[in-house]
């Protein structure tokens, strides 16, 4: 008796019960502007009119003050500083790097909020304050998606000073 036939005649021990939900997601005005910009390789944040902090990605209103951001956008660099990191050893979907890989909180230059992404570096090299830059897909593959950035990669710059990112830890 083959293993498959045996499976078909032995007791049923496990029930597969997948759940799936289909949504039509609307990005809204502010995230749509952010996504249209990233389709052109630009990273847009927005500045709070109350305290001047720059939120990235851009969003409709300030979560601290509740004020709307209006139409002013701030273009950010694709370079930044690693605030924290973690080594991932379990597989996940839609990650451009092989296991084990490094997931990082990056503070983009000019932003006051962190971006969670992945880093292509030797596990023993990654550290807080490390300077990194985005690695983009080939230009012809850019769409209105954050997936245009494949991952971050270390760059040859001195580490950022702790004071410049400590509030984001």
């Amino acid at each position: 008796m083959s293993a498959k036939e045996e499976q078909a005649s032995g007791p049923v021990m496990v029930l597969s019960c997948p759940i799936s939900l289909d949504y039509a997601y609307s990005a809204g005005q502010s995230a749509s502007r952010f996504l249209r910009a990233i389709a052109e390789g630009k990273l847009l944040g927005q500045r709070c009119p109350v305290d001047g902090r720059v939120y990235f990605p851009s969003r409709g209103s300030c979560p601290m003050h509740g004020v709307t951001f209006g139409d002013d956008a701030v273009e950010l660099s694709d370079k930044g500083t690693i605030v924290t990191f973690s080594i991932v050893r379990v597989p996940s979907q839609n990650i451009a790097l092989p296991l084990p890989y490094i997931t990082v909180n990056v503070l983009l230059d000019g932003a006051d909020t962190i971006l969670i992404h992945v880093l292509d570096a030797k596990l023993e090299d990654v550290h807080m304050g490390m300077r990194v830059q985005a690695v983009w897909k080939p230009r012809e593959e850019w769409t209105t998606s954050t997936a245009n950035i494949l991952y971050f990669r270390p760059i040859d710059e001195p580490d950022a000073k702790y004071e410049t990112y400590k509030e984001h830890i």
Binding site: V14, D22, Y23
Partner: protein, 147 residues
């Protein structure tokens, strides 16, 4: 018509979880029997039979173990007609969701009656199961049809 550049972007978003559950003694017996085209209920201390079989008495919480074969025919105790089935529903053509009490069981359970048209449905009607060609031990191995 092209949308203005300021229209909000939209995209399909599919969220799914590939859950599997282990069945334990009672439900393993229930689904194994179903794969063999048989229906198992379970007897309570008061003598009544629950279908589908479950591990515990819903009133007293005591463990249950005496499996009882019921059906395969039964009666419709109440029903609703689904005139326009949606994509994830069990049948692509119109059908009824019905509470069906299998012969020998004391509780009805919710399932599909493939009756062809609403005019064939009636409370109290008798139904029989129609199994798929290769049952795998799942509740959608069968639908009911008028007996």
């Amino acid at each position: 018509m092209t949308k203005p550049a300021t229209a909000a972007l939209t995209a399909p978003h599919h969220l799914s979880y590939t859950y599997k559950r282990s069945l334990g003694k009672v439900l393993s017996a229930f689904f194994t029997a179903l794969r063999d085209r048989r229906f198992l209920g379970i007897r309570r201390a008061n003598g009544s039979v629950l279908f589908p079989a479950k591990e515990y008495d819903p009133d007293t919480s005591e463990s249950l173990s005496e499996l009882v074969e019921v059906g395969p025919t039964g009666i419709v105790t109440t029903w609703v007609w689904v005139a326009q089935p949606r994509r994830q529903q069990p049948l692509a053509h119109p059908f009824a969701y019905a509470l069906v009490k299998l012969d020998g069981a004391d509780t009805p359970f919710l399932h599909v009656v493939d009756a062809g048209s609403e005019s064939k449905m009636a409370t109290g009607m008798r139904v029989r199961p129609r199994f798929c060609d290769v049952p795998k031990g799942a509740i959608d191995d069968f639908v009911f049809e008028p007996a």
